[in-house]
């Protein structure tokens, strides 16, 4: 029972962070139909920039975090401007190739600036052990869950209450109709990319806080694919629930069956989902009135 609770908490932490990374991915796909293969690198950059701010510039982590988020926004805007906008109207495969190129580019930039050695991350969130129902878990993991939940709530408010959030969903629904009401599609794309970069940066900071920084953080980003395929590429609730399911599944498989299998289980799920329900558990139904 202790083991079960232990695994559940671990799984929820990883799952919550996966949800954050997946959320950004879904947002880009939803508003612009682009599959962003650089989502993992956004995570990586977030973690490294925060690392630099705290370790190399000795800033308090609060200020460091704010700067990291601003950098993430800037990256989102730049990517939209320099990579996506010139490709408007090109076949979607070209845009996808461009994001694959972008991922290599970002990875190269990171290794040029910070090298390839994994480094310890000065924990900005306390990691002292907490006992819950007989299980022991680092406080940092609980914080990660809390922060992820908070982010998800904020996003929900953004999408249902704010003008830009509603406009973003409008663009996702019908781009030309959105333009006809004066919504700037370019601006919405820039928003989507910025938000994706910001969520990824926060996810990256949370992972780094738990396991340290290193190039393999981008691999965490790769696990976004099983999550979004499971949840549905265009579903925000799907990203959240998919993240939690994959996080829990990996933890249980790792704990009860054995190491190794947990590394591949999510991709096994991915293949099964693709076979039986290719639009995912929560993929958007197409409203058809006849």
């Amino acid at each position: 029972m202790d083991l079960f609770i232990q695994l559940t908490l671990t799984g929820l932490t990883n799952g919550a962070i996966l949800s954050l990374a997946a959320l950004g991915f879904v947002l880009i796909y939803k508003s612009s139909d682009v599959i962003n293969f650089a989502q993992g690198e956004f995570l990586l950059i977030g973690a490294y920039v925060l690392f630099s701010m705290i370790v190399q510039f000795h800033l308090p982590w609060t200020i460091g975090l704010v700067i990291t988020l601003l950098v993430a926004v800037a990256i989102g805007v730049l990517v939209e401007r320099l990579v996506l906008r010139p490709l408007i109207g090109e076949p979607i495969i070209s845009v996808i190739m461009a994001t694959i190129g972008l991922s290599s580019l970002l990875r190269a930039i990171v290794s040029t600036i910070w090298g390839n050695q994994p480094r310890a991350f000065p924990p900005f969130i306390p990691s002292k052990p907490v006992h819950i129902l007989g299980a022991t878990v680092g406080a940092d993991r609980l914080w990660a869950i809390g922060i992820a939940v908070l982010m998800l709530v904020l996003f929900n408010l953004f999408f249902t209450r704010s003008k830009e959030g509603i406009a973003m969903r409008a663009v996702a629904d019908d781009q030309q109709a959105a333009m006809s009401m004066g919504i700037s599609v370019k601006r919405i794309f820039a928003w989507a990319w910025s938000i994706a970069a910001v969520t990824a940066a926060i996810g990256g900071a949370l992972v780094a806080n738990i396991v340290g920084v290193g190039p393999e953080l981008a691999g965490f980003g790769l696990r976004v694919f099983p999550v979004v395929i499971l949840g549905g590429l265009d579903s925000i609730p799907g990203a959240i629930i998919g993240g939690l399911i994959i996080g829990l599944l990996e933890a249980y498989v790792g704990g009860y069956i054995g190491m190794g299998l947990n590394q591949v289980i999510s991709f096994v799920v991915l293949i099964i989902i693709l076979m039986v329900r290719p639009y995912g558990l929560f993929g958007q139904e197409i409203i058809e009135r006849v």
């Binding site: 109207g89 249902t160 003008k163 509603i166 406009a167 969903r169 409008a170 996702a172 629904d173 019908d174 781009q175 030309q176 109709a177 959105a178 333009m179 006809s180 009401m181 004066g182 919504i183 700037s184 958007q284 409203i287 009135r289």
Partner: protein, 264 residues
């Protein structure tokens, strides 16, 4: 208020669709634009609202002026901000957004939160049915309700000039009547100038102050509704057009739902 002078529009750099289109829309009036399928009515509206660009269309000759300023080939955002709002053909509501969210999207270019709830109320007084369904997802509204939502969305932007593209499309005659009456009220009460594109000539001539008839990318006839209705040639002309329109519409899958109502 709006004037088109010898406008020429080309799609994909080769397809010439408007060939010297000229018309005037005076402030505060309802102007009708009639024509068969493929005459270029929608293209005319898109040329005005700036929506040609994403379809690779371009105004290559002539000029479009709004309140004395040239507006051809500007971005749609800019044109909406200047006060022109196009209600697109086929309603085009945001299906996964609620009725109210659709209306809020319509107010995108407006500033100041305070007036938002006031504007919503204003739309709901014109379309009480939308108020009853304000939390409902727009994709599940009936066709008539979707058309009301599309017009309501335009109202939210407080446009000076509203471009309506076939609001009667696919709706029952009674509902069309109701929507046309509301359009007239909007014109009177809000002072919104209206350019009404239609296939339903009879109804259009009832509400319009002035009307144009276009064929193959240019205006072929114009006049007040009285003049047009009494002109014997016009009736002939309509009948002629009906035949052309009919044959075309069978070929054109996009228009399979459409019913011809020329002078019905």
């Amino acid at each position: 208020m709006l004037s088109l002078n010898n406008v020429e529009v080309i799609y994909n750099k080769v397809i010439l669709v408007l060939k010297g289109m000229s018309m005037q829309v005076p402030q505060g009036k309802i102007v009708g634009l009639l024509g068969a399928n493929g005459a270029g009515k929608t293209t005319t509206l898109k040329a005005i609202s700036g929506l040609l660009k994403p379809e690779d269309g371009e105004v290559t000759d002539g000029s479009i002026e709004f309140l004395g300023e040239p507006i051809h080939n500007r971005d749609p955002e800019e044109i909406v901000r200047m006060g022109i709002f196009q209600v697109m053909e086929g309603r085009r509501v945001f299906e996964h957004l609620t009725v109210e969210e659709n209306l809020i999207a319509g107010a995108y270019t407006r500033h100041g939160r305070g007036s938002l709830s006031q504007d919503l109320e204003m739309v709901y007084t014109y379309f009480p049915r939308l108020k009853e369904r304000y939390k409902q997802v727009a994709g599940y509204l009936s066709g008539g309700e979707q058309q009301m939502l599309a017009i309501g969305r335009a109202l939210m932007a407080h446009p000076k000039l509203m471009l309506l593209d076939e609001p009667s499309l696919g709706l029952a005659p009674l509902l069309v009547q109701e929507i046309f009456e509301i359009v007239q009220r909007i014109n009177k009460e809000q002072g919104t100038t209206i350019l009404l594109v239609e296939q339903n000539a009879n109804l259009t001539l009832q509400v319009a102050d002035y009307a144009y008839i276009m064929e193959s990318g240019r205006i072929v006839l114009e006049g007040t509704p009285e003049e047009l209705k009494e002109n014997a040639d016009v009736r002939e002309f309509y009948l002629g057009l009906t035949e052309v329109g009919k044959r075309k519409s069978y070929r054109d899958v996009k228009h399979y739902k459409r019913r011809k109502r020329w002078l019905s």
